[in-house]
């Protein structure tokens, strides 16, 4: 066993610089925790040999659960016996990550006693990630977490822990109540969250506006991104104030950077062709005291994003252009009341026909968007685009290409 609590060699490089260092944090933990002590040793070995010494998989949860624990074992347990088991636990975070200090203190006290005392707040999944404990400690950790009011999050082929931006709790741009939907989806789909029934993972992320602070367009299988239907609200006096008092070059930093070129500035007034606005939020972000989103608000539902694991990364594309997320609901529009049926239809089809380890975005690519929409009972709409000014499902030049090929 490596007898040291301080990192050396290559790990020293990770302690330099003005930023917080995870090596320094593990060193601090190693002074009182054997697991953290051996963690440094194994990490150093990995950096020296350029080899990962973790074996991943196997155990996945506590009694009755199929997710929430990521099994991890050392392949050099004779050298580092205290990390021979080093399982990770994902703890379902509250919507938008609001805690009382007391709650965090209790989790930390529990983890010092039952784990490595090292944790991520928060992991990229959104959960609190408790790093490193042994198999016999899993049930006691779970029992203590539930007594504190927490539950395990998702891992494996389940609905992953839904996450959301801070939404209306702290942000004026929230077009719908992201916290409410993250909470409601978490509670509604407890079975899907804890018991793997899917071909592979499935993620919901709720972003209150197109700034998409939870990066749902890149990471969530199903993204809910706040948007509006009507015109951007303009205070022309404030626009002129930006130009005159704040010396903002509106032509350069607003008009020219509009992705759809739907704006014009004559030095006195800002004009917006709202029919061609893609709701990217750039102008609103720059002139935030002068411009505000419209008042007719809801969200756009997008489907199919994923990071590159088995195949390449994908961004999500539009599935429902506008869904109203709060009453009063109109008769001829998609509303939040339609959500459960839409989600069930998607899961039913993908569950039955999806291949093992095939994300829903890859599934749609394989069977074709037209077939997918047909099977889940959605009418194709012109707004179902991958990004502004393109439509991936209509091939305008197909006939022309065929003619050219015949000529060749």
């Amino acid at each position: 066993m490596a007898d040291k609590t301080k990192a050396s060699g290559k790990l020293d490089e990770l302690k330099k610089g003005p930023y917080p260092s995870f090596v320094k944090e593990i060193e601090a933990a190693a002074e009182t925790n054997k697991m953290a002590h051996d963690l440094i040793g194994q990490l150093e070995l990995s950096y020296d040999e350029k080899l990962c010494h973790w074996k991943h998989g196997g155990i996945v949860g506590v009694m009755g659960y199929g997710g929430g624990v990521i099994g991890r074992y050392s392949d050099v347990p004779e050298k580092f016996p205290n990390v021979s088991h080093f399982h990770t636990l994902r703890v379902n975070q509250p919507a938008a990550w609001f805690y009382k200090t007391d709650a965090l203190r209790k989790i930390c006290d529990m983890w010092e006693k039952r784990g490595s005392s090292v944790l991520n707040v928060h992991g990229s999944t959104g959960d609190i990630v408790l790093l490193g404990t042994t198999t016999p400690q899993l049930e006691p950790v779970f029992n203590e977490l539930t007594s504190l009011g927490f539950d395990l999050g998702g891992s494996g082929s389940v609905l992953r822990t839904p996450s959301c931006c801070v939404g209306p709790a702290r942000c004026e741009w929230a077009m719908y109540d992201t916290l409410k939907y993250a909470y409601e989806m978490t509670m509604r789909y407890q079975d899907e969250l804890h018991r793997p029934y899917f071909p592979y993972k499935f993620k919901f992320k709720f972003a209150g506006c197109p700034n998409d602070c939870v990066a749902s367009v890149a990471r969530a299988d199903m993204s809910f991104i706040g948007t509006w239907k009507d015109d951007i609200q303009i205070d022309q006096d404030k626009v002129r104030w930006y130009a005159e008092e704040r010396k903002v070059d509106i032509e350069d930093v607003v008009v020219e950077r509009c992705p759809t070129k739907c704006m014009a500035w004559d030095g006195k007034e800002l004009f917006i062709d709202n029919r061609n606005c893609a709701r990217c939020m750039h102008c609103i972000n720059v002139l935030h005291l002068a411009l505000k989103p419209g008042k007719d608000r809801g969200c756009t539902i997008m489907l199919g994003a994923k990071a590159p694991i088995l195949e390449g990364a994908q961004l999500s594309s539009v599935l429902v252009p506008f869904m109203r997320m709060a009453p009063p609901y109109g008769e001829d529009e998609a509303t939040a009341e339609d959500l459960p049926e839409l989600i069930d239809n998607i899961w039913e089809l993908w569950g039955e026909e999806g291949k093992n380890r095939e994300r829903v975005g890859e599934f749609i690519q394989r069977i074709g968007m037209g077939n997918f929409l047909d099977a889940i009972g959605l009418e194709p709409q012109a707004e179902m685009v991958a990004h502004p000014r393109t439509n991936p499902y209509v091939f305008y030049d197909l006939g022309k290409d065929e003619e050219e090929e015949e000529d060749e």
């Binding site: 998989g57 196997g58 009694m63 199929g66 997710g67 198999t135 082929s157 029934y197 039913e348």
Partner: protein, 88 residues
Amino acid sequence: MADMVPVEEIADAMFKMIKDAAGKKQYKSMDLQKAMKELYPGRVDKQLCKAAIKQLINSGRCIYTYFGGSYIELPHVEGAANPEQTET
């Protein structure tokens, strides 16, 4: 409407599948559901299969495992587990 198969019977049939395939093939929940639909045509549905799997897991007869994807298997001690740390 055909008589639906009792959950216990579905759970037993699933358990036999998992036991017979142990060490050779791993099954996902959906594999088990599809097999049950073939075994009992028109007499099982998704909810019954989910209830049967829940019964298998909650009773401890089977466990969920993860090897790239999530599977349902017989309980076993992980080969990678250190016996000294496995004791409570």
